[in-house]
Subunit: 631 residues, 2 copies
């Protein structure tokens, strides 16, 4: 079989004649982004054949120049029976590219928003019991005596044991004179015993709250005896290379073996984050007996290995909205294998458990009659409007721009990310602030909003997102029909390369903000209300420590309303997940929220495209909607 | 490392100096029986060192002649740093020895004893439902619609799904227009869905009833749509080589790794029997969704990998009496992995689920006020006495003689086993009848009883089990102090070798019958009753098609009572297991039986040894107890 070599990685693999180049690259461990899932519609998987010959179809996407230069779409290229060298451009590659990873937690969690005055009642609790000594005359088994000890403290609930506990019970109850610590999950009428340890081990008790986003994944480790957050780790979802949004992941999953690959990728991401937290904080994975996971419906399907195909096809039906409790070993996450995993309930195919968790952090979860609007800005944007009487929700595909996806120097809110920018009106020179006040590595969502707004206010870009070519500036580079803007010169950046944003990036950001804004308008329209009826606007998303409200309004991401109505609540999905992990009260409230929400399918609304097109300007085609924005 | 060669198998293995020879043999796959579990107390693991030298301790068990001939106790022998050749005598080896295996079912089940007029309600049932088509407007997941379809037919029970079902549901409900067959286990308030298949698969539905004895294991395959027994397979428990009775198995299990070995051995036995049934009857293992297992408490502990140590030690405490439902994949039996496995509840450490199952086949499970005695003759003998008002039970170690264990030419009731014998009073020539009317292979329990009784009645043995040396007969061979009796001359037998029984075998059989009889007397004594108070006597055991009542009384195994009071019910544990598999009514009754039984520990009764010693004669030291036996 001919050898296929990939550059610059230098990876080699043998491949049969007729093999698909994109698949060969994947087998070789070379990551080529294909957001459309290999359907040939996105034109992103461009590579260059520098030696050897292949069969390829450019589908009219590549220019004559590109074809002449040896460029092909990897997904539409077949290997012949000859060796081939393939150059993989540094386009949307994970490392050194747009999804820069970082080792640190950076304020994704706003602990000041955690609720107060709730009952501490985690999913699984640890409890010390004293098991009576065996006696010939009572005819009781070890398990009988353990059950009696548990029922003495916790009432006559039926006690049910996991097999692993049964296997350990005889030796464990004899190790420390009958003193054992059990780990227990209480359901109505039934107590499930999922752990047993000799002696008092109630202090060795941890839980994890997990938020699985399409682009970004966060894992939070909690010390359960006092509910304190020990640490949070965030990274990109390792599924990114299989498609940037949920639809391309679903397309990718359709091919044999790919669903399992996607499942393994997200488990890999989670288990690496877990391992990092355990190492950093010196804890053992078997002491983690609690896990709650929230994510959009597609992410949960992929995590569980459920075919997501019917989410994409009309009538958009998920396999499950509310998963049963599963064990950690069934799911595949590396905590105590007997631990039960609780999954936040989904509302529908496009509004998931991340939203039912996020709503817990808002007035929508209270008895308030005031109308609230909840906007979760992620790769999928989800919007909820309502009060104690009703809740409507919709979703839109915002894209991963604000998380660093599809933006040349984009990154998520992590150490070294530019989060705030000032622009010199005369020179276009940028002053910037980075997370952690270190040398800049890239720009995160809040930085992009700040940058775009400041360039707009200083006139360096126009409402269509085009850079001003009429005024010379050393920070603006014009190449053919496209221009780019240098935020950070090479000598100031972390890796010695310029941090640059171009007009294609601006387009991506504008598309994202347009999707969010038009979805908000449309859902209000559908419930026959307007922005003026809203009392509270909750903004959620992974923007890091802060989101510049004024600038968000300036670019038309958020509506031009009384500033005091807005609340930025950060990663509300993760916070809500923490609440669900810690309290039965919130688990019940979340189920109620998920059931009460009505999903509206925006894509079937004929006004959707009009609204979206009108929002593709800064701040909006209809300037009267943004009276306070002076440009 | 030196090479250790075993003869006649020709197996070789390298072993470190200092290794224990018994363990080296096991590693090499050479089976040497060690009933005491390698403690050096039974003196059964005798092998001959034909070349090389070893360190050995004969513990005074071996004679000077034996030591001179190179004989050693394998369990007390260490390898030196030199190669060794070991001859393993054909003593209690599994093949060609006393535990002859057979390929056929031979009447262990007496279907005429199956109950009538009970409600057909197997553990898991298959049911066809029609799932409504997905609709955009109803917001229901696939699982929601499946639950609705199930609840329509089965009421508002909560529906709980196993993870594997959730993973299959989306594609399965779309394969045949929403027509699916679910496999369901109904508990109060909850229906567990453990299987889903497209279309109507209700006809592909099987169950297995399993009886795990210390010596003999039986698996019965049942076609659930009509409850018919498809086939039964029986074999020796592969744990035999680790000890012949429960105590030696428990001793064996104490060493690191051995418990897991014992677990694997019984799973191996079960899975081979299952595979044989599946092949013979052309069924797929995934169509077996029901399993009930009965066995004595130790066997169940070993099957589940639970440490049995505390069963042996005062106060004799098992880990569990009633196991929770476990899945087939947890237990390790090769049927549908999602299948729930139900284990018959035990009464105590020495009276197990085989007895709570067996009692179901008797009047003890009815409202009768008549006093019944139930005697289960196995390697462990268990006795139950009672009526609708009370039930007392005890156990005794009878030994495996009647199942072929410890008897030179013994075998279980299988094809070719001698099951009945007539003796010529003058010549001592035996006329025999074999199971299947084929050439004889060995002698089973019913044959032993018949043989012993006829030899006694014709005077060829005396009440102590010694052969008559005064009358010459070509069927009696006298060697030194021991004599043996040729049942079948070499030319008539299946393998061309004589079938012989010797005085040591007679002793073993007499010990077995003495243990059973004295336990019966003793428990009656404890409840202040006598044999005359008994209305029904149920005899259970793996004797094959029949047990000769008259001959059983003649040797003093059974009491000399009105013959019409006796009922031979065969393998009642397997039959009861079938009943439990087929009906919720019997599952409940069995639980009630297990709870109601009171266990009496005979070993603490000072009269036990006296009673036992008195019973070590044929029929008994006190002949007045057997007035109808004329010898």
């Amino acid at each position: 079989m001919p050898v296929i070599s990939f550059q610059p990685s230098g990876k080699n693999i043998e491949a049969k004649a007729g093999s698909n180049l994109l698949e060969v690259a994947r087998e070789a461990g070379v990551e080529i982004i294909a957001p459309c899932g290999g359907k040939g519609t996105c034109g992103k998987c461009i590579v260059r054949i520098s030696s050897g010959n292949v069969e390829s179809n450019s589908l009219g996407i590549l220019t004559a120049d590109e074809l002449a230069g040896g460029y092909v779409l990897a997904c539409k290229t077949q290997i012949n029976d000859t060796p081939v060298t393939v150059e993989v451009p540094e386009q949307i590659a994970r490392k050194g590219g747009k999804f820069t990873s970082s080792e640190e937690d950076c304020g994704l969690i706003r602990e000041e928003l955690f609720p107060h005055n709730w009952q501490f009642d985690p999913l699984a609790l640890k409890w010390c019991v004293s098991v009576a000594e065996a006696k010939l005359e009572d005819g009781l088994s070890d398990l009988d005596r353990l059950s009696q000890a548990i029922q003495k403290d916790w009432g006559k609930n039926e006690v049910v044991y996991s097999f692993e506990v049964i296997r350990k019970v005889a030796d464990t109850i004899r190790e420390d004179n009958g003193n054992v610590t059990i780990t227990m999950i209480r359901e109505p009428g039934r107590s499930h015993i999922i752990g047993i340890e000799a002696g008092n081990k109630t202090e060795q008790h941890y839980g994890v709250a997990i938020d699985i986003g399409t682009t970004t994944v966060s894992v939070q480790l909690i010390y359960l005896p006092d509910g304190k957050v020990v640490g949070t780790q965030t990274d990109y979802n390792d599924q990114i290379t299989c498609g940037l949004d949920v639809i391309s992941r679903i397309n990718y999953a359709a091919k044999a073996g790919n669903l399992e690959e996607l499942r393994k990728r997200i488990l890999d991401t989670l288990n690496k984050l877990l391992a990092k937290l355990e190492t950093m904080h010196h804890i053992e994975s078997h002491d983690i007996y609690n896990a709650v996971i929230s994510g959009n419906t597609t992410m949960i399907h992929l995590l569980l290995g459920l075919t997501p195909e019917y989410i994409r096809l009309e009538p958009y039906t998920p396999t499950i909205l509310q998963a049963p409790y599963l064990t950690a070993s069934e799911v595949g996450i590396d905590i105590n294998p007997q631990s039960w995993v609780y999954l936040s309930p989904s509302v529908g195919s496009y509004v998931g458990g991340d939203i039912s968790a996020g709503i817990l952090c808002t007035d929508l979860a209270t008895d308030s009659e005031d109308l609230s609007l909840f906007i979760d800005i992620g790769t999928n944007g989800e919007i909820v409007i309502g009060n104690c009487d009703f809740m409507m929700t919709c979703a839109c595909s915002a894209g991963p721009a604000f998380e660093g996806g599809g933006i040349k120097c984009g990154m998520r809110a992590a150490l070294g990310a530019i989060e705030k920018v000032e622009i010199d009106p005369k020179t276009a020179d940028a002053k910037y602030q980075t997370i952690g006040d270190v040398k800049p590595k890239g720009i995160c969502g809040s930085g992009m909003i700040s940058l775009l707004a400041k360039l707009l206010l200083t006139g360096w870009i126009d409402p269509a997102g085009k850079l001003d070519r009429s005024r010379p500036s050393k920070f603006i580079k014009i190449e053919k029909r496209s221009a780019s803007y240098i935020i950070v010169p090479a000598e100031e950046s972390d890796n010695g390369k310029e941090i640059v944003i171009n007009e294609v990036d601006f387009e991506n950001i504008i598309r994202t903000k347009a999707a969010i804004y038009s979805a908000c308008s449309l859902i209000l329209n559908q419930v026959e209300m307007s922005f003026d009826d809203i009392s509270n606007i909750y903004i959620a998303g992974g923007f890091g420590r802060f989101l510049d409200l004024e600038m968000s309004i300036t670019i038309g991401l958020l509506p031009d309303l009384d500033r005091s109505n807005f609340k930025y609540i950060g990663n509300s999905s993760l916070m809500g997940t923490y609440m669900v992990l810690m309290s039965q009260e919130f688990r019940e409230k979340q189920l109620d929220i998920a059931k009460r929400m009505t999903y509206i399918d925006l894509s079937s609304d004929p006004k959707y495209m009009d609204q979206y097109m009108s929002a593709l300007f800064l701040p909006h085609t209809d300037k009267s909607l943004f009276p306070s924005v002076k440009i």
